[in-house]
């Protein structure tokens, strides 16, 4: 039986939430569903999120967040994609004919399998 470390599960839940809410937030015209596919392999888990009616927005090319900013300098928001980049092992974005697909991978190395 495959045992998945708690920290891996936490990272995957957070990445799905951030990427999903991002797709919803920045796509005001879409009235179609967003599909989520989860593939569990021997050494990794791969998640695909697909929005079939979207405009192009490459989440891998967003500006870096300056985490050394003080409270006064901080703006509320903008941390979701930053967290995703910190917590997943691979992240890619593909866009074609109105379809946006985000794929991320979390490795299961060093797990108690």
């Amino acid at each position: 039986m495959l045992t998945i470390d708690e920290s891996v599960i936490f990272s995957i839940q957070l990445a799905i939430e951030e990427l999903f809410t991002n797709m919803v937030k920045y796509n005001h015209t879409a009235d179609s569903d967003i599909a989520i596919a989860i593939e569990i392999g021997e050494n990794k888990i791969q998640i695909n999120l697909t929005d079939y009616n979207s405009t192009e927005f490459d989440i891998t090319k967003t500006q870096e967040v300056d985490i050394s900013q003080s409270l006064a300098e901080r703006k509320v928001g903008g941390l979701g994609l930053h967290l995703v980049k910190k917590m997943v092992d691979e992240l890619s974005y593909h866009y074609s004919n109105g379809v946006s697909e985000v794929i991320f991978t979390k490795y299961l190395e060093n797990q108690n399998v």
Binding site: E6, L71, L79, H82
Partner: protein, 94 residues
């Protein structure tokens, strides 16, 4: 689901999962706070950027009057979220 309890001494305890669908509940509780207090994270399993947003907006409001939140009982994963975002330098965490 998420729940925020306001204790008799004015401190707050968070329970459950603070995700994007639960931020209104967290904001309703923290919005009542007008002086320094402790938020106990012991029973909080999960937080996402939406939850961080509620914390920082209320911390900004409190700081205007010289008050602040003190956070206790964060689990390892939530500590990682604070570290990755630099929130561990913004909030007083025990």
């Amino acid at each position: 689901m998420f729940k925020a309890k306001i204790l008799e001494n004015g401190d707050i305890s968070f329970h459950g999962r603070l995700d994007a669908s639960q931020v209104d509940k967290a904001n309703a509780a923290l919005g009542q706070v007008d002086k320094s207090c402790t938020i106990n994270f012991h029973d909080l399993e999960y937080i996402s950027s939406a939850g961080l947003g509620v914390l920082i907006s209320n911390e900004k409001r409190l700081k205007e009057n010289g008050h602040t939140f003190r956070l206790i009982g964060l689990n390892k994963h939530i500590r990682d979220v604070f570290r990755y975002t630099g929130f561990d330098h913004i909030f007083e965490i025990e």
